[in-house]
Symmetry: C2
Subunit: 226 residues, 2 copies
């Protein structure tokens, strides 16, 4: 059995968003995608509908599909939802985590740190998301896992739209603390650190400055006229 082309498209778009190669607002034309993936438009439309259901793509009637552009309000809601969900995930994870899991998580953090030093932002972002999603898998609750998958994706979009100070180091540090709490099976500490970690992320956002001027071709071709 071969892979459905629509899933290929969905995964490709999600990966691109995960690594911030696709900025918020980018138009996803049907013909463009159908040529890129050698498939007909029906598959493209299914893929776009699926991405829209995940709130990662916005479908404007007669206008086309665009990478979602979360507002400041949505950003707050996303992070509040993450706190609600990751709290429960953490409680489940601390009860189910094995030594192998902890080894994996530490390796993940090491790779993330290394990516940060290499200034490889895409890899760093992907690994950070992977960290959260691994805990979600660990929880054994696929409903929460699916919800969090959507929320981390939207979080990446939000981080791309409202980039405050680059607090990537703080991110790794937080993750280390979380794994330490997991290792100690200290639930109370884990819950506190998880909540604080998400608040750090949210606090680092800057909603004021950039209305994120159109990322049109002009800027990409001529560079920013400082």
């Amino acid at each position: 059995m071969d892979v459905q082309p629509e899933n290929l498209i969905v995964d490709a778009v999600l990966n691109a968003i995960s690594e911030q190669r696709l900025p918020a607002g980018t138009k996803l034309g049907e013909q463009t995608l159908s040529e890129l993936f050698n498939c007909n438009r029906a598959n493209v439309r299914r893929a776009l509908a699926s991405l829209a259901a995940k709130q990662v793509v916005e479908l404007r009637p007669n206008r086309g599909a665009f990478v979602a552009t979360p507002s400041a309000q949505e950003a707050r809601e996303v992070f509040q939802a993450r706190r609600a969900i990751e709290r429960t995930i953490a409680r489940q994870a601390v009860a189910r985590v094995t030594d192998d899991d902890i080894a994996y998580l530490r390796a993940n953090i090491a790779a993330e740190t290394e990516a940060r030093i290499r200034k490889d932002k895409p890899t760093e972002l992907r690994l950070s998301q992977q960290f959260h999603m691994y805990l979600a898998q660990l929880s054994g609750n696929r409903v929460l896992e699916r919800f969090l998958a959507e929320l981390t994706m939207r979080s990446t979009l939000i981080l791309g739209m409202y980039p405050g100070e680059g607090h990537s180091c703080a991110n790794c540090d937080d993750h280390v603390g979380i794994v330490d709490a997991l290792t100690a099976r200290d639930e109370e500490l884990l819950l506190r650190l998880t909540d604080e970690h998400l608040r750090h992320l949210e606090a680092g956002l800057d909603f004021d400055l950039p209305p994120v001027s159109s990322v049109s071709l002009k800027d990409q071709l001529l560079g920013s006229p400082a």
Copy 2:
């Protein structure tokens, strides 16, 4: 601007599931729906894809669309997710609730109680779901609201599949307690009652007895051969 037929279909199916007129496992044929709603198959397929994204419909390749049949494991996951989400919703609600909201909620409970006495199960189910969704709206968090909409829908399917004792009265009583806690702005009590309410619902399920034999025509035509 007229209404998109696909949204009509989605709403109709969701309403039917809300009132348990559509049992889990029911086949949703494309032609059947396209004739019912006087539209072409493209609209039907979009609607079914949308319902599948909400986890309310299962799409089996080359086989068609069926109302989802949540397993016992999924049921547990759904209720755990609800506890996570409704906890945060309750915290937001208690901070934002107005007297008008409380009046609405009490009227809703009254109607629910009356429906129970009338033995009007569909209305009772719909109103119970409405109660939870009103609190979700009150929270002001549309992400959580959307998640809960999916979860309440799946909960109704679950209640239909694994019906334990009819604890509808307990349901109303729980709701009364929740509104009382809201009225008193007693957050701690509210959180406790909300959590307990969801645990009551889950505890009332009976996973053992009915593998829910095919709800095929036979039973509907001949009745159960006691």
